[in-house]
Symmetry: C2
Subunit: 139 residues, 2 copies
């Protein structure tokens, strides 16, 4: 699952939970609503629960509930919870180059550049809350 798909799937699930705050929704119910596989969803939601974005309850009447108010959950929070890898990262290319030092310097240039871009993306994602998305996607 690509990072972008994980992110949008997570947001769909969290939006649904936000509108059903009175009861826990289990993975099968969420999957039916937003589409996709319950097992796959559980894998995502368990990551979100480790960051206390949702709470997971096992057993009868169990399922998932939102643990924070939607206007305190940012896209950045969600992204970090589900994805360990940076959005922009260099797969450093280490070949047996004659000028290995030049290779390293160029790699470092790109590592720095991608870090800068990463910061900009994170800044943007910090400014967007789940609440924002819910309002923008209201019918």
């Amino acid at each position: 699952m690509s990072a972008s798909t994980k992110l949008s799937t997570s947001v769909k699930a969290l939006s649904l939970l936000a509108t059903h705050s009175e009861q826990a929704l289990n993975s099968a119910a969420i999957a039916a609503q937003i589409g996709g596989n319950a097992s796959k969803l559980r894998r995502l939601l368990s990551l979100l629960s480790k960051q206390n974005i949702v709470a997971a309850r096992k057993g009868k009447e169990g399922g998932f509930v939102l643990q924070k108010k939607p206007d305190t959950i940012t896209l950045q929070d969600i992204y970090c919870a589900i994805e360990d890898q940076k959005a922009f990262h260099l797969d450093v290319h280490t070949g047996s180059a004659e000028d290995e030092q030049q290779n390293i310097r160029t790699n470092n240039f790109f590592i720095d550049l991608f870090s800068e871009i990463q910061v900009e993306i994170e800044t943007k994602m910090k400014e967007i809350t789940l609440q924002d998305i819910i309002e923008k996607t209201k019918s």
Copy 2:
């Protein structure tokens, strides 16, 4: 090959060509210098030649030469030449959701967001020239 690896490999090759403007370098020579496989390099360089960033000459004493001045080649030019796909794009998730309309609205939200981010990245890449990178990675 990931987009980031393609980009850094291309820059390494172009930097090398920039310092050998008097003669054409063939793919084997470039591969020896920067590391990696000659055949793979040719695939990248042929894409760059289609955008007239390098010129390719076949036959004896053939190879590749830079076709533009380093300070007129931007990272954005290179990226577009070698990668058709946007850096940030949503793999839209189309499941059989009960509320398909909500799904679509959420997907559209992310498509818009990623487009914005894409524009920012492109802006950044347009500001960086091959010349800049050569100077910054000088030993």
